[in-house]
Amino acid sequence: MGKTYWEAFKEAGISRREFLKFATYITGLMGLAPSMVPKVVEALETKERIPVIWLHGLECTGCTESFIRSNAPYASDLLLNVITLEYDETLPAAAGILYEENGKMVRSGLVGHLDKVVEEYKGKYILVYEGGVPLGNDGRYCIVAGRPYKEDVIELAKHAAVLMSVGTCASWGGIQAARPNPTHSVPVSDLVNKPLIKVPGCPPIPEVITGTILHLALFGMPPLDDQGRPKQFFGNRIHDTCYRRPFFNAGQFVEKPDDDAAKKGWCLYKIGCRGPTTYASCGNLRWFGGISYPIQSGAPCIGCADKNFWDKGPFFQREKGIVLPNVEVDADKVGVAAAAVTAGALAVHAIAAGIRHAGEKDDEH
């Protein structure tokens, strides 16, 4: 039997007072009301620490970089005390063969560290995916420990309690899935048939990753939206939580990234801000413990948590254009041109009608 959180805390020499502070803190982090603190304490006292397996696919590992920078609880706290991170390719001290062969055999047909972990925690572990899954060329674009990543994705999901995809790569396919998607990279959700919680973002805000894992560990699945994202972190548009919103409402816009309005901190809508169409917590949680976020530093949001954001027109343009052969043109320009052509055609028709039907009178019918 594994230890409960409280037991693990005691062993680590953490005082009851610290423990309660921690419980209060994570209650806020999970987006729960203060009245939930007793429930959180109870869960921490009675639930066993949940084992986590963290897989890496086609990616840049930026999500892990973000995760270990969680301001609070410090990722180390989380790793050591709240979850038991049983398997991860990037964080442990040992790597490669030393890590994989910690058991007797390696994954490709043999039993390695990963297999041991799976065996021990069958049906109990949270499986976290980071990175996309390339299907092209039989999955050979991403080989981990001698075997195509896509096989691990499917195999390990079978024994997991719950699945979670961290980052835009695992959730939507990632930058490598941009047209024409040479590796045929797909999101994990295309391959597995189990409840999956999506935490997109490139990378996601650290507190969002930890908050979601905490919720999974203590209370199971949080409420999800129709795309499988936890509502407490992805329920609102950045636009609806943005501190520049008053400038949007007032109609005061930055026209060029270096103009006077930009210096005054007006709304970035016209230089392509994706805040109005992106659902994430950047506007309220912000980054690095609330220091800033892209819009606050004067750069329009590029919508990195949004599905297929990489294929949605130039980042510094508000809306993608209509694709004509070889060019992409602003929808309004196409519209005006089409209206002009139509008006011209109708005028010609009207003149022709005048000539053709000249001299007809009402009573000639």
Binding site: D225, D226, Q227, K231, G235, N236, R237, D240, P246, F247, F248, N249, A250, G251, Q252, F253, K264, W266, Y269, K270, R274, P276, T277, T278, Y279, G303, D306, K307, N308, F309, K312, R318, E319, K320, I322, A331, D332, V334, G335, A338, A339, T342, A343, L346, H349, A350, A352, A353, R356, H357, E360, D362, D363, E364, H365
Partner: protein, 252 residues
Amino acid sequence: MIPNVVKKSFYRFYLFQPGLRIWHWVQFLAIFVLFFTGLYIGNPFFIGSILDPTDAYGKALCMDLIRLIHFAAGYVLLFGFIYRLFLMVTKKSHFWLLIPKFWKGWFWKGIFDVLLFYTFIKKSHIPLVRNPLARTAYFFVMLLILFEIWTGFAMYGLSNPDGFWAKFLGNWTLALFGSEYELHFWHHVVAWIIALFVMVHVYMVFFNDFIAKEGELSSMTSGVKFFPEGHLPYDCDDVASKEECKRLKGET
């Protein structure tokens, strides 16, 4: 073909109840407002003078106000649409004149005939209460309007993720389109398609009024269209009972 010799003796079809006529013009006003406020939302600019940053808010003609007008007109369009659906059950012509009856012979005959007439190859076309081209166009434009209502209220509702519109439309629409960015794009594109329809529609109405002399323009004000005696419209069934059509045809 309507021969020249028949002297003026018209019979009238009462097609549109006042409710439908009022609906048509209310919808026209709503779309007029929606289109231009929509273009502004897509590419806003400031109208007024900014004395200090907080001064503009709520005072000048600005994004907030234009969006409010857009959403208010959106509600008018929505309720109008629902009302139009309700009208479909109140009167035969309110239902059938909007349906492209592609399964009928006269539908295809009408399309060719009307096309020949519009391209000046023929001087007139077979008598029809509402020609198949117009039917098809109206049917599809109603679908486009429904699309705008759908995508519009989905975007509108999502600012309150637990509100009625988000639950009713927003969430699944977002999942369907993958991203709200796509919703904006298609909402914008379809706005232009509707605008192009209106241009052609208005021209066709005037053309048919002046050239074909079917009382087209007045039909949306008085509710009545005229047909010369002895030339029963092929789609008479859509507006009158079978007996009435037979009687008009002179078969009884």
